[in-house]
Subunit: 437 residues, 2 copies
Amino acid sequence: METIDHLIHAKWIITCEDTNRVLENHALAIKGKNIIAILPSSEAAKKYKAASEHHYTTHAVMPGLINSHTHLAMNIFRGLADDKELMDWLTNYIWPAEKKWVSRELVKDASALAMAEMIRGGTTCFNDMYFFLEATAEAADQAGIRAHIGMTVIDFPTAWANTVDDYFAKGIAFYQAYKDHPRITATLAPHSTYTVSEKNLARVKALADEYHLKTNIHAHEAPQDVEGCLKLNHKRPLQCLQEVGLLSPQLIAIHMTQLNDQDFALLQQHKPHIVHCPESNMKLASGTCPVEKLFQLGLNVALGTDGAASNNDLDMIGEMRTAAFLAKLSTLDPKALPAEKVMRMATLNGAKALGIDTLTGSLVPGKAADFIAIDLEQIETQPLYHPISQIVYASSRNQVTDVWVAGKQLLKNRELLTLDEKELIKKAQNWRKKIMN
Amino acid sequence: METIDHLIHAKWIITCEDTNRVLENHALAIKGKNIIAILPSSEAAKKYKAASEHHYTTHAVMPGLINSHTHLAMNIFRGLADDKELMDWLTNYIWPAEKKWVSRELVKDASALAMAEMIRGGTTCFNDMYFFLEATAEAADQAGIRAHIGMTVIDFPTAWANTVDDYFAKGIAFYQAYKDHPRITATLAPHSTYTVSEKNLARVKALADEYHLKTNIHAHEAPQDVEGCLKLNHKRPLQCLQEVGLLSPQLIAIHMTQLNDQDFALLQQHKPHIVHCPESNMKLASGTCPVEKLFQLGLNVALGTDGAASNNDLDMIGEMRTAAFLAKLSTLDPKALPAEKVMRMATLNGAKALGIDTLTGSLVPGKAADFIAIDLEQIETQPLYHPISQIVYASSRNQVTDVWVAGKQLLKNRELLTLDEKELIKKAQNWRKKIMN
């Protein structure tokens, strides 16, 4: 008998590999941070002596969800203003509130609140873009979640930095501080091609090369995004990114709802990763990312919620469902983006986009034990014919009972183990009082 | 001090009247089945002596949600087949399964399961269209939910009826049996203008006049719907309904995604009620109901989930969110269908469509005590700036803690009081075993 740390028995294990498997009555064997085997539960009992055994008898176990684009701390402004024109929303509500209130303390409290919501909803890894990066990193370190944190660059001053040099200096300091952290990874995050000039994008490219970093950027999000880039940089966003050398598989292009034939050709040639944020695109009336067409061109498309100020949740289970529904409606093809494919967007494709698919994103021996258990024996998901269909189309995030990252349990029967739920709510309420005064 | 049955104190009461009010720290005074007053909690304590008092201290209390179109018992086939072409889905999966399995017993078990899901999600009233009407009515009688049940008519035989005469005879028998039930109402439900000939639609119209009944019909659901009607009845669905005299405020026209200028003119002239089912329309790739345009033409538009075989849930909180998002995207206007308006679609507008808006659909003295409590002090809905925004855009159905219909409690702190959750799940699993063999 081999001694291991955990044996995780499940009614179903959904692997989310490129060729997905749904295994019944199997177990994950976990040693340290990693999965070392996946085998029938009956065999596992004979082969391993585990320090702890967990029996998810009515559950599907699947890879933790990867939220490939978000602005976590913006959840402190969730619901402050809805149903507004984009520029009215930004200039009269969000930017003034951010200018007045965003601080290291706010970002830490709001990011932790967002992580609590994400963990409760089955998200084990996120790709963030905001300010006061250390505050988000500290919250992620405590929460135990896997975090990619963007070194924001934008051509105008914010509560975090005054000049472009200041953004770069603070970003580099953050990268240096966290470069050896096992779960926290710095990325580059120039905001967009309408708020960052070509000159500054070229500085981002130099830094990406120097430190071997992924670069995230909002691109072709809405008509205003493309128009703004034409005005600032005299070309369309993808062309601008190509000219500075950023358009490559090292780029994560977010949103991508406004694409013409020239854009499709550039994408097919340079193969950046794409992040689709359907709910934010719908709520802000931005447009529709042509996900199936991008897959046909050979691109990798992942899924994100965007910030909770424009979603208004951080619910990746709901986001999968919306992505599938929107793909069907926008192509008028009910076969578009089937459940299994959209589940891969929320797991393995996210890991590919972030460059960590050898580490996580699917359940296979050798990868990190980043997984979640979803209880499907509830009124809302009975009877059950296919677990993947029930997860994507019928379940809700509240059916996620247990969450593990790198072999450590973060949620146990819906109870947060690393974050204090009541304290987070109290802090959110205190911020609300200040912001509303 | 006046003696009453219940005093319901709430942090917020959302009335959902035409001119909506959000009242803080108010109470509903309930005597028998009805609300007799809404007043500040502090005054209520002085004025009323209540047999029971309930304190929803972190909750919003709002009218129960009205699911204005569904096929409850189809939830037994939920997830049996997804991501299929409409005709493939119907002819190779749904219709064969229905033919083989639909029975009085199945409809009773499946309808009760669906009611459990609806009550857990805050729905207090539904408008159904299926077979074995008495089985659904018996389940509704036990569940305590408010039920409108359609007397289905279709030109071909099903597991329930063999001929058109048979459908009418069974429908009339159902109407007679339930005409005095306080919560259960018969309606007419010819399936569609592509499956019911003009001759039989005229019989429906005669019966609607004789018994003063509302008529429900799927109309302009998808291109195939309009084409089928052109083939069968040689005109478009709305024109067909006009010619037999059914196009009037007594008609509930469901889906309505395929409308041309002639259709809009007919709608504006005859003012039927409309039911929008955005998630089913998206999943089946049917098209988009132009909700804001219909409101501009002066029509009443309500909200429904459709059956769980094509949704795949019966979640009206989620349906509100999708309706708002889809309206914004399809009009490219983020101001379209704001949260308060979509909440009215799911409450008062549903009551108007069903012809019961003097009885329910908003919280005002004199109406039935049909209401729900939603706990907003959870991680997912903090901080809270506007309760309506948080309910529509950020909350999930699992935050519904308590549900009351006609002064009787059906859900208490998420526990079903009139239905046996475990037994319903067991029955669903038994049906699954049979259907999968």
